[in-house]
Amino acid sequence: VSCVSGGLPKPTNITFLSINMKNILQWNPPQGLQGVEVTYSVQYFIYGQKKWLNKSECRDISRTYCDLSAETSDYERQYYAKAKAIWGTNCSKWAETGRFYPFLETQIGPPEVALTADEKSISIVLTAPKKWKKNPEESSISLEQIYSNLKYNVSIHNTKSNRTWSQCVTNQTLVFGWLEPDTLYCVLVESFVPGPPRLVQPSEKQCVSTLKDQTSTLKVK
């Protein structure tokens, strides 16, 4: 349905929110239209191709976001996207993103973290985050396969002494030694890729206690 373009103000702050290559286009409603039931339509463009393409699942929608992960899954290409507001026979001009380059701009999610405690050490096993995939049946692609220089910033906190220290690693298993027995330690891990700055997503904090010192328990007997 055609509409009078420019009859409405444009959506604002239109950007891609990208985490592990799950690429969501999001925007704010046009200013000054509170209480008006506006809908939106979205198009996207593959840089270097010929024309803008409609995203059919995001035609005349009332939400202010649209999942373009499938359309932007070739992470080594660049993209643009745009959205316009529609109300009756009026619509806004398009609000357009800057050039979006998933390979350099996606946020790298945290790894999976598995902790095993001993008396004086904690072993940590990290599993790299996975790239977004369209169908659960598809085989997973680890972000490690995409970013061979993927690194992890592992920080460990002694809840008794309130001391924290961290280590930057590339391998997926590490051991923190020389710890205090019978003490609760909490671990946080961030993934990162050296290169242009990206937003970072730390892992959930995980805590584990080191075991009681067996030698002292034997003496007590």
Binding site: G98, S148, P194
Partner: protein, 153 residues
Amino acid sequence: GLRRCLISMDMRRIEESFQGIKNAIQAKDTFQNVTILSTSETLHSIKPLDVCCVTKNLLAFYVDRVFKDHQELSPQILRKISSIANSFLYMQKTLQRCQEQRLCHCRQEATNATRIIHDNYDQLEVRSAAIKSLGELDVLLAWIDKNHQGTSA
């Protein structure tokens, strides 16, 4: 076979300079349906053996054509571009030494890829071509970073 000749360079500094001008430069590029580096046909099909030659050719492309053809009014943007250009000159010197040690062999594949890029450039008006090439520096830097890893900080 030919050992790859790698660039040891602080890529972070160049990337930072580019990040500072990326939006401004890319916003000036109004021809979204054309690319210069056209990655799928060129950069992504480069084999390790050809990395050195393609890098050398691309650095020369930017130094001898893009930076020369680009005219910039904003002093801030100009400063960033000059910093990037100087880094490219430094990388060129590094590769020059490799070439003298015959470690930067140019096969036909590398020459073809370079010609596609020059042909793309020639199809646009020179100022637009320069702006578009500058706007695609993130693609080039990511490719150099990926193919010369283990040497950048």
